[in-house]
């Protein structure tokens, strides 16, 4: 059973932070011997069904507004624009094939990567250079950032769906296009 005091402390720590709080940071903050996993599970349960929920994303824990409130919050809060389709596809390629060069991204999409797309992904802090490929010209390798995971609410890169699962049910093209525009 998780200690009520530990739960309060973890709650305060994660609530106060603007970015996800790692298990390591929690272990440091809680008294020695505290069971971080049990504490976080208990805290998760306490927030179930509330207007704010505790999620694991991007290498740590973070409180976020509940998903179902999105339409009503959007009316009040000003939200930035979503990434356009080309940027989302490029991001998906980087996520699945990282580390990957620009030429490889272009090869898979069969289209050149535009400056606008590259800028949008860099500005949104979704991708980051991660070394060079040891081939002629030593092209830059790209990878996703921790913010990418955090932005899409993914605990880890392993939580991306498997390729086979993606190909099972092709999404309706109509919807997709409506979203892309």
């Amino acid at each position: 059973m998780a200690d009520a005091d530990h739960i309060r402390l973890a709650e305060a720590l994660v609530f106060a932070s603007g970015v996800p709080v790692s298990d390591r940071a929690l272990t440091q903050a809680l008294p020695d011997g505290a069971d971080v996993a049990a504490v976080m599970a208990a805290l998760c349960a306490q927030y179930a069904g509330r207007g704010v929920s505790l999620v694991e994303a991007g290498g740590g824990w973070q409180f976020r507004t509940a998903e179902d409130l999105a339409p009503r919050l959007k009316r009040v809060v000003k939200v930035p624009r979503r990434l356009p389709r080309a940027a989302m596809e490029t991001l998906a390629i980087v996520a699945y094939h990282q580390p990957v060069t620009r030429a490889e991204v272009e090869e898979i999409r069969g289209a050149a990567l535009s400056q606008a797309t590259l800028d949008a992904l860099l500005d949104a802090n979704m991708i980051i250079p991660r070394g060079r490929k040891e081939t002629p010209g030593r092209p830059t390798l790209w990878a996703t950032t921790p913010e990418f995971l955090s932005h899409f609410g993914l605990p880890d890169l392993r939580d991306l769906p498997r390729r086979e699962d993606l190909l099972v049910e092709p999404p309706a093209r109509g919807e997709e296009e409506a979203e892309g525009t």
């Binding site: 959007k74 939200v79 998906a92 699945y96 860099l122 980051i128 993606l166 092709p170």
Partner: protein
Amino acid sequence: MAEAAAHPVAANDTPLAEGLLLHLDGFDGPLDLLLELARGQKVDLARISILALVDQYLVVIEGARRVRLELAADWLVMAAWLAWLKSRLLLPKGLEPADEAEIAAEVLAARLRDLQAIRAAAVWLGARPQLGIEVFARGAPEAFAETETAGITAELGGLMRAYMAALRRGTRHRSYKPARISLWGVKDALARLAVLVGVLPDWADLARFLPESMTGPLERRAAVASTLIASLEMAKSGLLRLRQEDAFGPILLRRQDFGVDGRTEESDG
């Protein structure tokens, strides 16, 4: 069906030129169009008919060229490659060129499946609640520690963004000089090929027939496209032979073996 209406290209009749043009502009390149056409076949992507796909693509490109003569090079390169693929696929099975084409067709189908998977992944990602768009983090985070003055926080992404911002601002102050673009046309390519093919005794890569002075990727792609079209034109009139070992591999050309002198009248002048 909305799908059928949106893609008149699948029909037998000449497609409506205007709708088609709008359509082509909406695609992110030839592979994107091919995938859309393949999905129009409404079967598992593993079982699409490559021959039907080739025909549909060529119809679209032909239609687009009728309305707009200058079509981006990559559309034409793909068209030429698909035309080659089709000619080989129609050969009786068991012949070496036919087997080559089978492999090339499989490579193409695999690329389409890869693109399809990525597109599905992008849709999957886009459907997730995104931070700052659908779900929101604490608006007013509380910082507890006294600022550590010794350390700085900076990551490579920030450094790159800063560099690009600096370069952009820096270049804005310079006066704008439009870059001169001189693209290598089909006529140029025909003339050059006619001269060079006669000199070469054996198979040679298409890339060797490109002009030497090409400054950028655009010029290079244009030159590849026009040289390819020129070589197809010359192959049609029996002046040279074309060969490609594997899909997206180098295109090889050689003078027709017998009888015909590779030189044309223009090249003598």
